[in-house]
Amino acid sequence: MKLTVSGLWKRYGRRNVVSNVNFELNTGDSVVITGPNGSGKTTLVRLLCGLLAPSKGDIRYKDGEQELSMDAVFAHLGLVGPYLQYYRDLTAYENMQFIAKARGLSVDMPRIDALLERVGLAGRGKDELRTYSSGMLQRFKYVAALYHEPSIVVFDEPTANLDKDGAAIVYDLIQERPDQRMLILATNEPHEIRFGKQHVRIAQ
């Protein structure tokens, strides 16, 4: 899998939020995107995930020589971000059943339980997400993002709302299967820059 970002711009009205971003990423590579608040990190992440259309420039995902459509990319993509929420009126199990079926996968309850346990939510699968704290919701996002074993992993503010234990779990997850996936991480935390082989710094 290869990601090529070339001459990427995103403009809202007269304001350039993302200006001329270029980089390449292969499976096994990782990039950390940093920048001050409002610099366009989240916009860049949403562009890379196909949730926004660029004003100018290209984002291309290739599997070997074959260029992938965004729908094909979504099947390989696991995203955690503050703007990506799940259904608070459904339980964690119901959310995961929905996501698995929507992705055309079988509902593997032992895997769901294992992932819930991994992020410290063991025994909370039958609870509606509305009963979760913000930290628990953040942990659940990793269960939903990693269920299908994505080969493109995108974490935007990965430790938002998490306590020390939660952050440690996430750092373990970030470092899992490094050779089998591409990692894109957007953060404000200087100590998280170490997770990237490349570093894209966005100026305000």
Binding site: C49, G50, L51, L52, A53, M70, D71, F74, L77, L79, Y83, L84, Q85, Y86, Y87, R88, D89, L90, E94, F98, I99, K101, A102, R103, G104, A144
Partner: protein
């Protein structure tokens, strides 16, 4: 095709489960329909209502009840920030089809309660029940189809509530005109053949809106 249907059923089941659990749309629609029904029935009083008056009243209640609740289907996803989750895990047409199925079912459920109550409270006897049921059924499919695609468009804007009725009314006008005319004739007891042109308009309108929705939804949904 099978994949599209099965994935749209996943969306439909999820929305149905959420609706049973919290009744976001059902409460809004039912309360609007019942209060309008009671208001109309009190204002008419004991007068005998002619089909020429009863048919428009029925469709006004159905239209505005639909407008009060059917937009929730997309607005809720945007407001609760779950729309991006749907974008990542499902193809656009499966989302649209699932949401459309849900809105059709919701309007049918409303009509099962409101239409008999309307006839009872207004003391109306429908002379040609087959034509009446067909007109209301196909008209509801048309109305739900308009509401679903407009809901998808306005969910991306900031002034959602006001826009929904404003945009839906001109597009749904042919549904209202044919629905009212067909219902009036059915109440009068006109033969099925006389209601057929209105039924054909409603059916054709539904086919056109459903086809356009299926074609344009991806562009709306992908922003």
């Amino acid at each position: 095709m099978f994949e599209l249907l099965s994935k749209s059923l996943v969306v439909f089941q999820k929305d149905l489960k959420l609706e049973f659990r919290r009744r976001y749309a059902l409460n809004a629609i039912a309360m609007f329909a019942l209060t309008t029904l009671v208001t109309v029935s009190f204002s008419i009083g004991p007068l005998d209502v002619e089909p020429a008056v009863a048919a428009p009243l029925l469709w006004i209640i159905l239209f505005f009840s639909a407008m009060s609740g059917l937009s929730h289907i997309f607005i809720r996803e945007e407001e609760q920030q779950t729309a991006d989750t749907l974008r990542l895990v499902l193809p656009p047409n499966a989302v649209w089809l699932g949401k459309w199925l849900f809105n059709v079912l919701l309007l049918f459920a409303l009509e099962l309660i409101v239409v008999p109550m309307f006839c009872l409270m207004m003391n109306i006897s429908v002379e040609n029940l087959t034509t009446f049921v067909l007109i209301v059924t196909v008209g509801s499919i048309a109305l739900s189809s308009v509401a679903t695609i407009i809901a998808a468009i306005i969910s991306l804007t900031s002034s959602r509530g006001a826009l929904f009725a404003v945009l839906s009314l001109p597009i749904a006008l042919p549904v209202l005109i044919s629905g009212i005319e067909g219902t009036r004739m059915a109440m009068h007891g006109a033969a099925f053949e006389r209601g057929l042109p209105d039924l054909q308009i409603l059916f054709s309108f539904s086919v056109v809106i459903i086809t356009i929705s299926a074609l344009v939804f991806e562009f709306i949904w992908r922003k």
